[in-house]
């Protein structure tokens, strides 16, 4: 199969060795090709503009831009590009945030490669690659996939992707000012997100919030 007929993929992972491994394995497949590799999501938009991939394989725990925010931006600018998350962690919080922000699938790095390839092909064929119990938590409403409001909803599932991101950065120890810098928003906006998420979680202070974020797998301990 010529390169022109192969499905173009962009790999985003902060570990070079992981990117290399993924690339070498994907390129063994006759119908897949890796167009670009990125150590962070910051330049993803520009790279997509240049290479027009059909699929983006993206890690979650990376320095730099928030992957979930990036998916939402990407969906707006390039609705045809399908993003699949490839994470070392299998977590409800991450998976829910992935569905909510517009990803097509979620794969564990721990899975054997043929499972990963199967998921990639499933998404390319127009199916979602999430565990069924994750999709069961969602509904199609108002033109979008939203978290179902059920009795058993955990407080964290009520957070917006932006609130989740602010929570992740708070738990990483960043100050409001620093978070504002990272997310290119005003400290006032960040404060509003923080107040809102703390209210939703019924948490009063930063330390408790950090503990909660670790328990929920939003950040690494």
């Amino acid at each position: 199969m010529s390169a022109a007929h192969r499905v173009g993929i962009v790999v985003v992972d902060d570990h070079e060795i992981a990117r290399e491994g993924i690339r070498s394995r994907l390129e063994v497949e006759p119908d897949l090709t890796v167009l670009a590799e990125l150590p962070a999501a910051d330049d993803l938009i520009q790279v997509c503009e240049k290479h027009h991939p059909q699929l983006v394989l993206m890690d979650i725990d990376m320095p730099g831009a928030d992957p979930f925010t990036m998916i939402a931006d990407l969906r707006r600018l390039f609705p045809e590009i399908r993003v699949v998350m490839l994470s070392a962690y299998v977590r409800d919080g991450y998976m829910d945030a992935s569905v909510q922000s517009g990803a097509w699938g979620y794969i564990s790095k721990n899975d054997p490669f043929d499972v990963i390839l199967k998921a990639v092909r499933k998404v390319l064929a127009g199916d979602l690659a999430f565990p069924p119990e994750v999709l069961e938590r969602f509904e199609f409403s108002g033109g979008n996939l939203r978290r179902r409001a059920t009795e058993a909803t955990t407080p964290i599932s009520t957070l917006t992707p932006r609130e989740l991101e602010v929570m992740r950065l708070i738990a990483k120890g960043l100050s409001t000012k620093e978070i504002a810098g990272v997310l290119h928003r005003s400290p006032k906006t960040i404060d509003a997100h923080r107040t809102s998420l703390m209210r939703k979680l019924d948490i009063d202070d930063r330390v408790e919030l950090t503990r909660y974020a670790i328990r929920e797998g939003i950040v690494e301990p």
């Binding site: 070392a88 069924p132 006032k188 797998g217």
Partner: protein, 791 residues
Amino acid sequence: MNDAIRHDPALRPEAVSAELERLILDTADEGFCLFSAPDSRIIAFNQRFVDIFGFDPQWANTEPTVEAVAEAIYERQRNRHPDRAEHIQRVLKRHEAPGGREMELELLSGRFVVGRTQAARGGERLYTFRDVTSERRILDQLQAERQRLASLVEHAPVAMYIINCATGMTTQVSRSIRNVSGHEAESFMGPSIDWERHVHPDDRALVRRTISDAIAGQHFYDIDYRYIRPDGTVRWVRDTAGPLPVAEGMEPQLVGVVMDLTRQKTAERELRQSERRFRELIEGVSDFIFYEHDVDRKLTYVSPSVERMLGYGADELLGHRFGEFHPDHVAADLARARESVAAAIETRRRQPQYEVVLRRKSGEPVLCEIMEYPVVAKGEVTGFHGVARDVTALRDIQQRLRERERLAILGTFAGGLAHDLNNLLLPIRAGLDVLERDPAPSKVASRVNSIRRATDHIAELTKKLLMWTRHEASQPSAFSTTATDIRSWVQEALPFYQDAVVAPEGEGAIEVRLDLRDPPRQAKIDGGLLKQAILNLFLNARDSMTSGGTITLIVDRSPAGWAAAVEPLAAAASPGEYKGVDRASLPGVRFTVTDEGCGMDESVLQRAFDPFFSTKSRGKSTGLGLALVGSIVRSAGGQVQIRSRLGQGTSITVDVPALDRPSRPEPLRLGADGERMAPGARMLIGLRDPRVAAFVRTGLVAAGVEARTGAGQPEADDAAWIIDPDLHGPEAVAAVLESRADLAVIALGPRDDRPGWPGAILWLDGSVNALTFRSIVDAARQRNRFKGRDE
């Protein structure tokens, strides 16, 4: 004649000489009457005269004699002489020899009148009468007040006294002086100066001087001094005195009040001491600033420690707000301060403490913990007391401590992990070396196989490690939506366990026995995780039974109240997670895995759940097996208990929260009643957003029907068409239905207003989720669209 006289109608001006006119003028507003010299008849009088006595002016104009007038007045008098004749004689006698004392008359009308007689040079007699009724009444009231006061002084609960200023004698002292001074009232009577024998020697000069001056000048005084009581104890008193109004004929007096002030003085002294201690405290500390500010956050007091903490003098800050001097203060921090003050003013309550970054004069940041207390007066917040504490160093130490703890934990982890990884890297390196040196095809397969085994082992290790860290830090998810049907889980898991515990060659055979009793219907735990946890128990059991034996799995209902004992669960619960849940009545599923192995001694039992603890050789065990069981079960809100004795086997019990009701709808069953979905019949999902289409397809497939996605028109095999009203216009849909009357069309979204939609369309408004996928299928089926080709 002056106007006053000329205009008095009762006056006969022609009879009045110039001298008389002057005398009359002196009478001012008094009443008068003038008797002629030769015959002592009235020749002039004024209106006031007739008014005072109530005479008829006509009668006065008849020029009555002095005797007739005396008679008339006698008639109107209350304090008259008992003998009328005698009275008249006295009046006539006075008429003959005018002057002398004024006479005071009390009239029957209640008036008091003072009368005076004067003689003119021509022998006329001028009688003047002054009405003193109101003066007399005031004097009477004054007398009554004095009597009441005297009585009060005698019996008042606080001690009162009266000093006669003329004599310097104390004339009255209330008995209650005894309560104050300890001495009887009598001992204060007499020369007031004698009081001082009861006064504390240090205060005597003050008392003597003050009271002497006040008596001499008849003015107020107010002094505090001490009495020495007969028992030697000392009492503080406040002595306040002032002059009584002096009436005519009365001697000037001072009235005073003595109050016991001992308690107040003691309290004042304690307050002063406490204030001094507090001041010493707040001025001595260096990492606290005490301050006060108004509702506008402008500082009204700052403790001197501000200089040490922020480098500013207290004077520099008064009238300003914290943070005003450095423009690079974090705006959010200042906004927080503003919000806190606004909230405190609104609620009149203390707000939670918060942290802000202030700046030293040099610009260096200082992390301060702020606690402010609103000062409320008459229901309004008038200002704030605040404490700002420098927590820069504290937070730094806490941060370092956390880092150190993390490093210590990481060290333990990394040590074990590095050891295992090195062991696994060895065969990989060796295999690669061999492949490089001898790439003979015959060797490749076996080398690749050995590398794959090693990498599989690494993957297994990292998987467990990640699961362990994940669950160790996770919140209990006992109330999550995940639920596992116990009976089907057991059916699926048991063969897996039987395969897993097959004894290695040369070891005794292992038998697995299941004892399924009466467990609740479902467990609130992920089935996969539960399988992993119980597998680890089986593997542990197998490893302890080198000579073979039986492993028993008992599945039963947890004893009532099991969850009440699960301490870590409640403690680790995330906020809001377990509100209102009665933990004692929570049902549970109990899994017990019992082996006939070598058992554990006390020291091994103690560490059995520690990560990387293993009694087996490295490479044979990751040391994460039981640690993982513990973390999975705890994170599900359950508990693990272990019982073991060396040489007698081990029994591990796992309790997890249960559900007695089905948590999901029954899976959709198509078939059995002739409504089987025909082979090849499917649904076409034509939604604008391919991701949403994929979502709907996944749901429909899970609900038991075949479905495909596509923006094109339905094919012959498509029995139902799910449309997006925005994507497919009414005309396009109508056109399709014209040739496909058997097609069920389901529109996702609110009913579209555009005309031309065929009536056969089913509009599915609202949200579409795992539960409503079934309604979509039902809706399509009810329209009898799914007709099997073979029917």
